[in-house]
Symmetry: C2
Subunit: 447 residues, 2 copies
């Protein structure tokens, strides 16, 4: 076996892989988001990562086609999912007679982008999605619920975000009103990048589409409207009498009314929010970190008129939210948001001598039975090297088990941060460690 | 959009997908296993699902090759992982200078088998793996820890299992002793299926390999040895003086000694355990459900001499365990082990009239803030249809919100199981629902 050529261990480019302590933190964020979803009565789904290409690519056309991992296995043309929404549509269409509507489901899972590896782009990333799907109809309560849920996710992560909400019917109605309905996709593409390109370039691109200078100015001014919903309504309600425009305004009004009932009073109405994907047809929203240099959205969502149009004749309106947790975590790591030294899989190392090794192992077992994360460094033979290992691993507590300690049942518990040593019986040790854990977990603790 | 041809919504054959209530249960099992891993100081890893084919197929040869999802993306030859062990080897080899050893990691994730879809075989399945990797050396404490952990996983799932432990060196030593070392792979393949084929067929196959009738009988008798370790040792220790045989016995003795220290006294020594994969070189173990008709192993593990031999010159011995949770859950579902009606995402439905709808929604929000899974059936307009929906969804509690209730702040809480109704203020409702939740969660409750 040693004669063979060694293979250089590499992971695929553009694929994300955290070191264990980072992973501890990342997993805890995922868990917190999952708890929020469950607390709000969303049901879990876990669809396969592979789907028939026919189903996955139904709505997406050529561009997505290139950006997916697609392959043949035998005769079967399959793809790795590039989002969690199309699998949801496929699932709901398959099981619509068995599900209760509105169907509230969450899914936290990896999605795949087959694009060329490049800095800052992930080819495998997690999405935390929650959606509410109606059967034929769906009240704006659902829109408000998704925005409320989105805010709760960030609260659970202790992150301050600005959440901006719009309704695409307002811009769509305006565009229809100036008779550019047929060009609305192109116009939305320009409006979607307004924040990133100079005003003149946007004007130029809109004029190329065919809009007059005055129309361009009015449209851009419209997207720049923001404030409380009441302020926005006051400023635009007489702008145009187009039916879709007024419908958008009405939906937005209902959404904000329900948001207030749900206790969200600080959410901003901002008509610049477009949210790329062209399947959104009503409410759209995005979240932006408040205390970060990262200016992109860290998630968002919106309303789609008909989730299942490619699979079913039944109209199934939906509204959903998604936290871009991979990007978010990447930003937080880069900005040193976390104190990685606080992430430790070991609460207490049991340090022994040759003669007390087995007694120490028994203590590890008892501590674990009592829900203390205890560890024995059994590969480090000497007392000294075990202490060194505890230090190197930044373990907070060490339990010293000498022959006397085994005889008396009083062990020395050393706090490696303060150097403090106390002699305690096993039950007292368990109590002490649990109290310390509680104190550390308390918000605003001064330790 | 409605003119286009609809696509039949299908999932890929052989891929597993649970309905939401089943998924609630399945996720809770995964969470419990994860808690066990963390409580025993294992660190989380989450490697990508895709790997370079070169890395993934290094050790496997032709057979696995056919059973993987493998494809080219651009020039890159990649595969979906078929287990969590090879990615672990790749990760440890890449980061061996940054990790602390013994490196204890767990990973719960999906793996992929590209085999032909057939009944009872899954092409996407979860594995719950925990491994301990040493740098050059690794004590049998680690073997005992993995077996101990394996038992704890099943305890956390409230499942009774028989855990059988062996050490492959015992059979390997015997085979060497009778001078069939070069044929040991073929012999192990026959021994591995002893439980499934008639004795005569096994004899015939071993004789074809070249063993004499007496050797066959001795070897098969050896695999049929089981009992406490002491009983097994007594019965076989003088059977052969081969060094590897005696080494296996010694390792097994240490493993059982440490198991006893860790509190596992009921684990059986059974030399029939081979555990297929030929990378195991020492300890091997498997778990079997006690109260089930399913006779296959629901997990197991073992010791491998050198995890990273394909990637690195450093010798890295490891020992690991894996719970085959997809198969296990499938068996438990088929045997009606779960009461799915108990899995409900809603604890309390708030039922309103037209005039009290908004007051009801505010109550839902307040209940959720207080950690009660409350829901409003906002698509069902009338009181009657909301009650019907609560019934249909088997929600245990309904909060009735009429105009009088809103005025007085005393709401009617109805237990839908018993029909009992009580009038309570919001704080009392929260308390009542939490008490009920505690009572339901108590083991051996008589409710």
């Amino acid at each position: 076996m040693n004669n063979q050529k060694l293979i250089t261990p590499r992971k695929l480019q553009g694929f994300w892989e955290l070191m264990p302590k980072q992973q501890m933190l990342f997993s805890s964020l995922l868990n917190r988001i999952e708890e929020v979803f469950k607390a709000n009565c969303f049901l879990p789904l876990d669809t396969p990562i592979l789907e028939y290409s026919e189903a996955l690519l139904a709505k997406s056309g050529g561009e997505t086609d290139k950006q997916v991992f697609r392959f043949l296995k035998g005769d079967t043309d399959m793809c790795m999912r590039y989002d969690l929404t199309v699998p949801l549509a496929r699932f709901v269409s398959m099981h619509k007679n068995e599900l209760s509507f509105p169907f509230k489901r969450f899914q936290i899972g990896k999605v795949y982008r087959g694009e060329r590896p490049q800095k800052g782009r992930f080819r495998e990333l997690y999405q935390c999605d929650a959606d509410i799907i109606g059967n034929e109809t769906l009240s704006e309560v659902a829109d408000a619920e998704c925005i409320n849920l989105f805010e709760k996710c960030f609260n659970a992560l202790n992150l301050d975000v600005n959440i901006l909400v719009s309704n695409r019917k307002i811009l769509a109605g305006f565009i229809q009103d100036i008779n550019f309905e047929e060009k609305s996709t192109e116009i939305f593409i320009v409006l979607d990048k307004l924040a990133k390109i100079p005003y003149e370039d946007a004007m130029k691109q809109l004029i190329e589409i065919g809009l007059s200078k005055t129309e361009c100015e009015k449209l851009i001014a419209l997207t720049k409207t923001n404030g409380t919903f009441k302020e926005v309504k006051k400023s635009i309600s007489n702008l145009c009498q187009n039916e879709i425009f007024q419908k958008g305004l009405e939906e937005l009004e209902n959404t904000f009314k329900y948001l207030e009932i749900l206790g969200n009073n600080s959410i901003v109405c901002d008509l610049s929010i477009i949210r790329g994907h062209n399947y959104y047809t009503g409410t759209v929203f995005e979240g932006f970190l408040k205390n970060s240099e990262y200016t992109g959205a860290v998630g968002g969502g919106g309303r789609f008129e008909n989730l299942c149009s490619y699979f079913s004749d039944t109209k199934m309106p939906g509204v959903g939210m998604s936290v871009g947790i991979t990007r978010l975590f990447d930003v937080l790591l880069a900005e040193n948001y976390f104190d990685l030294s606080q992430a430790n899989e070991i609460e207490c190392a049991v340090v022994t001598f040759d003669e007390t090794f087995e007694a120490g192992l028994k203590l590890v077992s008892k501590l674990r039975q009592n829900d203390i994360k205890a560890e024995s460094f059994y590969e480090n033979k000497s007392f000294k090297s075990q202490m060194k290992e505890a230090n190197r691993r930044q373990v907070k507590y060490v339990l010293i088990v000498g022959e006397d300690e085994v005889k008396t049942g009083n062990y020395t518990l050393k706090n490696m941060t303060t150097g403090e040593q106390i002699s305690l019986e096993l039950n007292q040790i368990i109590e002490h460690l649990k109290d310390d854990r509680m104190a550390s977990a308390m918000p605003n603790n001064n330790n």
